[in-house]
């Protein structure tokens, strides 16, 4: 069964599709500009909890603080 989880729980090398970004206006928009919009595909390149994580979105590598990654809700892509 596929469930929706915060991006920060997605393990390294796994891919997911963004469902929504649950942040304040400012944060949501800033992330949207960088390509974190609903429907976008993300891949976790590096994740070292509780430190920041590195994800690939729209061909770019973006470093995200752990707190921010908690606010991005994703649906993992199976079989990756």
């Amino acid at each position: 069964m596929v469930t929706e989880i915060p991006l920060s729980f997605l393990p390294e090398n796994h891919e997911a599709v963004i469902i929504e970004v649950r942040g304040g206006y400012g944060l949501t928009r800033r992330l949207a500009e960088l390509g974190f919009t609903s429907g976008a595909r993300v891949k976790v390149l590096q994740s070292t909890p509780p430190g920041p994580m590195l994800v690939m979105v729209r061909g770019a590598r973006i470093a995200l603080g752990r707190g921010i990654a908690m606010k991005i809700i994703v649906k993992p892509v199976e079989g990756v």
């Binding site: 944060l27 949501t28 928009r29 800033r30 390509g35 509780p50 920041p52 061909g59 470093a63 707190g67």
Partner: protein, 673 residues
């Protein structure tokens, strides 16, 4: 000869400054945007008899009104209406980069796309159909490799051609789909009724920004006679489109890119790249911090070891020149003024140039190679706990060498609040100039505890910096809240370009000379005056009687305030000169005790000026009290504000006093007096 105006814009790390240097031949006028701390670079380029005036706009991902950088870029395009806007797009991150391109087209700018890092994209296996991209965007697209100057002639040709055509209003090319396009054109129709507004701004862009509730644009349309009609329409629109239209439109822009443009333009899979492999090491949980510390250490040694001989040569050159000139002047006051005031001052100013120059070479190499962003990633968790930003770490470390380049290195911190906070606490990092003072006092009065006493100063500085950062965050409304969370692009690793690096370092260095240099020179001349006058009383024959000078009188005046700390007038005078350069404390003590610098420690011990406790308090005071004037010059230059510069002096003086008083009080309570 014809003149045209060209603006350069692009995301961070797309090679914008390289293209700027290629076009202008590296000759740039560097200044600030009016009233802002953001740097403005301008240059010219003549191509086929046409003079292009080129302005480098701040690197940005978007054109909203939320950050200074974005506002500067977009206001320049709207208000100054450059003939052509060159949008530099990173071909290896095409999808994300096109987001800004779409926004420029919305703005109705006359865009020419430079598809830079063409070689990198190719090496990653991407195939980009340039013709198709140009057709879809409706603007010329020129592949370039800025590092090798490939595509520059074609780019200039395209700019001239675009300037001739004067194409504007190609925003028609962008369709957001139903129901957005209808709503946007309905709002645009209302806005068009205001003739003044419509003549000044592209109405479709205004309509989009009104829908996005953009602060600046809302202010503009609120002054318009069509305001009430507009508000009615907006209410209606929100019912259809939802509340957060800005995010929805951002999604629409991306879907134009990823559904319409990318599938027809971009082919190629992405293999595991060198960047991914390097990141496995550099960002590793275990290796990340050791690698960071090793690279920082290399940067530190490079900056201070390589520059030290140059600084010494410059210092010697100027004192030699001063003596040479003054020897030919018979009037002793004028001779002293020229040798110690003018040449001494110039020597002091210029001796700071080499470390700044080399530091910025080192930093530019780290930044252009892509590592600096990784360093922030690695240090983020620790620094956030301390109330600072991940990027604050490097400036703090550089502070152990010299606070002047450290303050300048805060430029890599993008949010102004975080940057200013880092600047304010930076002088608490004990710079190398303070070390001779600790050694002098420590060996004079601390005996076998001298080394421990010296070491404790470094720890004290770090602890105070952390406490102060926390305090300022909590107390000063400007810094309220958490440091801005980490959201940062990590660029692909690349080999830095030598010429761009050197030009960058040179610009930094000469800017420092221009801005901070004047202040330093004035203060050196002032202190020369205070320590040499009244002339007759100070210069008795061959004797130099500093105890008769104005500065000694000032020391006498200050002494009562320092008495609770156990400092006498000599200590007060030494601290005054320490303001010029902290290591001057040593020389001043030597002068006043009438011995050479090498004998100062013994003389100080036998003169009984300090007890172990007051000596230790004096060391702490030297650590904390006002940054030296060169650092203040840098603080003023970087904050562009007298308020923060004066604030730094005041808080550090107060803190130094409190810390020294605490040491003396507890010391005597514990019976060390």
């Amino acid at each position: 000869m014809k003149k045209i105006r060209v603006a350069l814009i692009g995301n961070p790390n797309v090679g914008k400054s390289q293209i700027f240097n290629n076009l202008t031949g590296g000759r740039a006028h560097v200044g600030n945007w009016p009233g802002k701390t953001v740097e403005k670079k301008e240059g010219t380029c003549t191509h086929k008899g046409v003079e292009m005036q080129i302005v480098d706009l701040p690197g940005t991902y978007s054109l909203t009104a939320r950050s200074i950088d974005e506002l500067i870029a977009r206001n320049y395009i709207i208000e100054e209406k450059p003939d052509v806007v060159i949008d530099i797009v990173d071909a290896s991150t095409l999808e994300r980069n096109l987001y800004l391109t779409i926004q420029l087209l919305e703005l109705g700018a006359n865009v020419v796309v430079a598809l830079n890092k063409w070689d990198v994209a190719k090496s990653l296996g991407y195939e980009i159909n340039v013709e198709e991209l140009s057709k879809l965007l409706g603007v010329p697209v020129i592949p370039t490799v800025a590092t090798e100057k490939i595509g520059m002639e074609e780019l200039k040709d395209a700019v001239l051609e675009a300037a001739r055509r004067k194409d504007r209003g190609r925003e028609e090319a962008i369709k957001y789909g139903k129901p957005y396009d209808e709503v946007i054109s309905e709002i645009a129709t209302i806005l068009e009724k205001d003739k003044e507004l419509a003549s000044k701004y592209p109405v479709k862009w205004l309509a989009i920004k009104v829908l996005e509730a953009d602060e600046e644009v809302t202010k503009i349309v609120n002054r318009s006679p069509v305001r009430s009609e507009l508000e009615l329409k907006l209410e209606e629109a929100k019912k259809v489109l939802g509340e957060d239209i800005e995010t929805a439109l951002a999604e629409k822009r991306y879907s134009i890119i990823s559904d319409t443009i990318i599938p027809r333009v971009l082919k190629g899979a992405r293999p595991l790249t060198l960047t991914d492999m390097l990141d496995k090491a550099f960002l590793s949980k275990y290796l990340g911090i050791p690698i960071f510390l090793a690279l920082w250490w290399a940067l530190f040694r490079f900056t201070f070891d390589v520059s030290a001989p140059f600084s010494r040569i410059l210092g010697m050159l100027f004192s030699g020149l001063g003596q040479l000139v003054s020897a030919r002047i018979n009037e002793p006051q004028l001779a002293s003024f020229i040798a110690d005031g003018i040449f001494g001052g110039l020597g002091t100013v210029l001796s700071f140039f080499p470390p700044i120059f080399f530091l910025f070479i080192g930093l530019a190499v780290l930044e252009d190679s892509g590592y600096l962003a990784r360093a922030a990633f690695v240090m983020d968790r620790l620094m956030v706990k301390l109330g600072l930003h991940g990027r604050s770490f490097i400036p703090m470390l550089i502070g152990f060498g010299c606070n002047v380049p450290a303050v300048m290195a805060t430029r890599t911190i993008d949010r102004e609040e975080d940057r200013i906070l880092t600047i304010l606490v930076n002088p608490l990092m004990s710079c190398s100039a303070r070390l001779p003072v600790y050694i002098l006092i420590g060996s004079a009065v601390l005996g076998s505890w001298a080394a421990a006493g010296t070491y404790s100063m470094y720890i004290l500085g770090i602890v105070l910096a952390i406490l102060m950062a926390k305090l300022f965050r909590a107390v000063i409304p400007y810094f309220k809240g958490k440091p801005s969370p980490l959201i940062m692009e990590l660029p692909l690793y690349a080999v830095p370009a030598v010429k761009t690096t050197l030009i960058h370092a040179w610009e930094r260095g000469s800017l420092f000379l221009k801005k901070a240099g004047t202040i330093i020179l004035l203060v050196v001349i002032l202190s020369w005056f205070l320590s040499n006058y009244p002339w007759e009383a100070v210069h008795q024959g061959e004797e130099f009687m500093i105890s008769n000078s104005y500065i000694a009188q000032l020391g006498g005046l200050l002494e009562p305030y320092f008495r609770p700390l156990g400092f006498n007038w000599m200590a007060a005078v030494a601290l005054f000169f320490g303001f010029l350069a902290k290591e001057a404390v040593v020389g001043t003590f030597a002068t006043m005790l009438g011995v050479s610098e090498g004998e100062a420690s013994q003389a100080l011990a036998s003169a009984g000026i300090f007890t172990p406790v007051t000596g230790f308090a004096f060391m702490a005071f030297t650590l904390v009290y006002t940054p030296c004037m060169a650092t203040l010059g840098a603080i003023y230059r970087e904050t562009n504000s007298w308020k923060w510069t004066v604030f730094t002096v005041v808080y550090e003086l107060a803190l130094a006093y409190l810390v020294a008083l605490a040491i003396v009080t507890f010391g005597s309570l514990l019976g060390f007096a």
